[in-house]
Subunit: 306 residues, 2 copies
């Protein structure tokens, strides 16, 4: 069994070594043009040329949760695409989202600015009931974030394409219920997969539908947000602010107005980082399970796009 590793934004060597140690029976190598075709590939945003050079490929393991970059490629029929399911990412998403929700709800950014100015200032406490949090997308990551936010006793809602039941979370399903979900949400956390159906879902119309003082936390993909729509909504006060971890173009271009907008907090696509050892263990386990003819979690449905 041959396994090839093709990563566009990080070094393949630690992955090659880790996979080789986990699967001593396999031949693991970093991809190079001209290399003998492999049975399985471990990839992040590979070029089309990589796919074209792998005629016998059975499985493409994506080292992230989102496979939108892979869905842009021309993939041979019969190739299975498998994404990471969790592998230490969901708790990071929960942390990031709760930090942003709490920081906004408790006005800790305002307190910090006051403290920097040397001022001891009380602000009227706000009511938790006035800050319902809505989670867009209820996969492994969305459900984990929903549970974390619910731990802090916020009213929590969730929206997904197909119906999900999560204890303590009011769930809405399907396009027809998106409006109901939005008008009941004040803090919107996006965890959807990026597909043709969800591209641009965060736009003037949907963001204007949130409760007054709405707040956006985007930790999915930059393509979900119509970036030109956001700043006017913030400037006229329709939205109170936004925490953005992902952008249409990454790294965010130096001249982009998001960098210095006072109501926007930016992080460089790090809300959940791929943890190498957890990911290697998960991929090795799945390769073994597939060899035994067992089904594995995270196989992408090309029709729905995730």
């Amino acid at each position: 069994m041959r396994i090839t590793v093709c990563l566009t934004d990080s070094k393949p060597e630690p992955w090659v070594q880790g996979l080789q140690a986990a699967l001593p029976e396999a031949e693991v190598s970093a991809w190079a043009p001209g290399q003998q075709p492999a049975d399985h590939a471990v990839v992040w945003a590979p070029p089309q040329a990589f796919i074209d050079a792998q005629p016998g490929l059975k499985t493409l393991f994506n080292i992230g949760a989102g496979v939108d970059a892979l869905m842009q490629l021309s993939l041979p029929p019969g190739l299975a695409v498998v994404r990471l399911d969790d592998a230490g990412m969901s708790v990071q998403m929960a942390e990031y989202a709760c930090h942003a929700v709490i920081r906004h709800f408790r006005e800790l950014d305002v307190y910090e600015a006051e403290a920097r100015a040397g001022r001891w200032t009380y602000r009227k406490p706000r009511e938790r009931a006035d800050f319902p949090v809505g989670i867009l997308g209820l996969g492994v990551l969305g459900e984990r974030v929903a549970r974390a936010v619910a731990h802090f006793e916020f009213p929590v809602m969730g929206w997904s394409r197909t119906r999900k039941e999560i204890e303590g979370v009011r769930t809405f399903a399907g396009e027809a219920r998106l409006g109901d979900f939005l008008v009941n949400t004040r803090v919107l956390v996006n965890l959807l997969p990026l597909t043709d159906a969800t591209r641009g879902i965060l736009n003037k119309a949907t963001l204007s539908a949130l409760k007054p003082g709405g707040y956006l936390i985007n930790i999915a993909r930059g393509g979900h947000l119509v970036e030109d729509d956001l700043i006017p909504l913030l400037d006229k006060g329709q939205l109170a602010g936004a925490t953005l971890d992902v952008f249409e173009t990454e790294p965010l271009p130096a001249a982009h107005p998001f960098w210095h907008h006072p109501k926007i907090s930016i992080t460089p696509h790090g809300s959940a980082r791929t943890l190498r050892s957890e990911s290697i263990a998960q991929i090795a386990g799945k390769i073994r399970a597939m060899a035994r003819g067992e089904a594995v979690a995270g196989v992408v449905d090309f029709e729905r796009g995730y």
Copy 2:
């Protein structure tokens, strides 16, 4: 039944109205010198003159969790002091502590500074296992904070005077185990009551015992921290930082070095604010229960001081 309200840092009227509405059978009033003595008092840091003018007082209801200010007064024998138990405070403490833990662990303050400078910078993710969180004090508030931190999968420890068992938390009890607790802790969250036994417990010796890169979150009382000990520990790198909500003198004096120290985050004693309607409901419920001869939670043990 007469109830009097004596608050030093807020207006008594909303409390008088709320208590009167909850207990229509009682006569509720704001305290004024010369007033007829009451049966129960609802107080925050009252002067000794107030106590001295209440010869028939049965119960002193403190509208906070900490009764250290009351313990400084000369109180008549037989007077019961009852503190708020929770009343919406524990979830606020959990929020505040988790925000501080996550912000430090994930270096979100560093990312924020980088973003302000217009820089898209990755930092190496840190290992959760390297950030064990230790909770000093495992009462209602400490236990709630411990559970919230554990929700994010940090190793969590707790120390208390008497033995407590909390699922998912490694607990230590008694002065003899304090050292073991500290050497296993990197992020220390203080939620102890302030008593003669705990005053100054956060000092050069105890803070130096934390794991390298220790971090202090003090959300109990300023008197727990020997303030002069903190800055040298930060400056020589023994501690990585501190989030402080409480201070020996409040408001924190304008010239205090904590204000502008780059490793100290300050909030103005707001980690958990007393929520009036929850508190009134709790106090009214306790007055009714006591009238029926039932025991109520939160009665202070003068011997231990909380």
